[in-house]
Symmetry: C2
Subunit: 166 residues, 2 copies
């Protein structure tokens, strides 16, 4: 699969309409979310900065993920995703942040974290961050694209203003 251009446009539109900027913290996608969010002209209106924290040292140094959290729970875990997204929001000027850490494959899978396991962290300024685990099928490219698409979809949901019942 590839990431639908319409989804990138929806995320950009939602962020711009809300007047928000986004920050990204990426491990398994290696910068793909940031790359997609800057595909469109005018992207400085909604994209602020991104952290590609591939190594564990980068997660700790750039995002403040405690080394003990990684040692105890693993780089692909709910606590790591939460710490990543909290760090990205704190260390940026953005109103919303997304973090991803997963097993893109083909190597690196295990019984409880098979290839395709991805933990997402989401944070909106002034609200508690939360994490979501997803399991994606397919090869490395498919898992990475599905990860980007899921992240952007949730960003749209989180960014759209609360609806008004009429």
């Amino acid at each position: 699969m590839t990431v639908p251009a319409s989804l990138v446009q929806s995320a950009a539109d939602a962020l711009r309409q809300r007047g928000w900027h986004i920050a990204t913290a990426e491990s398994c996608t290696g910068g793909m979310i940031a790359a997609h969010l800057t595909d469109l002209a005018g992207s400085s209106d909604w994209f602020e900065r991104g952290f590609v924290t591939y190594s564990n040292a980068a997660k700790t140094e750039l995002l403040g993920v405690p080394a003990e959290v990684i040692a105890t729970h693993g780089a692909v875990s709910e606590p790591t995703a939460l710490a990543m997204v909290a760090g990205a929001l704190e260390r940026s000027l953005a109103q919303i942040a997304v973090a991803v850490t997963g097993v893109a494959g083909p190597g690196g899978g295990s019984a409880d974290k098979p290839v395709g396991t991805v933990w997402f962290g989401f944070a909106v300024r002034g609200q508690a961050p939360f994490a979501v685990r997803q399991q994606f099928d397919g090869d490395r490219a498919s898992v990475r694209a599905a990860t980007v698409a899921y992240a952007l979809g949730r960003v749209v949901d989180l960014t759209e203003p609360p609806g008004v019942l009429v």
Copy 2:
């Protein structure tokens, strides 16, 4: 244009053969260089971390680019590219770093920095960083892809061990 997969493979092979990791600092490409360098399985063997410093504040806070340098010379300039790449190398565990800052378009061009103007910074640990200006044709996607391709090509050149005359 798109970035040739063979070029990504060459960069990965050169880095792995040399035992080097790379760090990236990207403005106009918004994470595309990092995304390509992590396309291939095993990329933690050669990719360490990336900085997507889209805003000027991010360039200053994450890479240590002096705000006066940006104010005086502009975000798309030789001094900014040099400061970005020096900051990326210093603030990573990598042996080589690449930085890009340019005008991807369609807006943002000027008489002396038209759309397609890109400044690259390259740094190898223990050597003086250097910068290169390139001018690319085409639309936003073409300029971004050409920027990634140029960066990877120079990384291959810089990473390959010095040749021996026989």
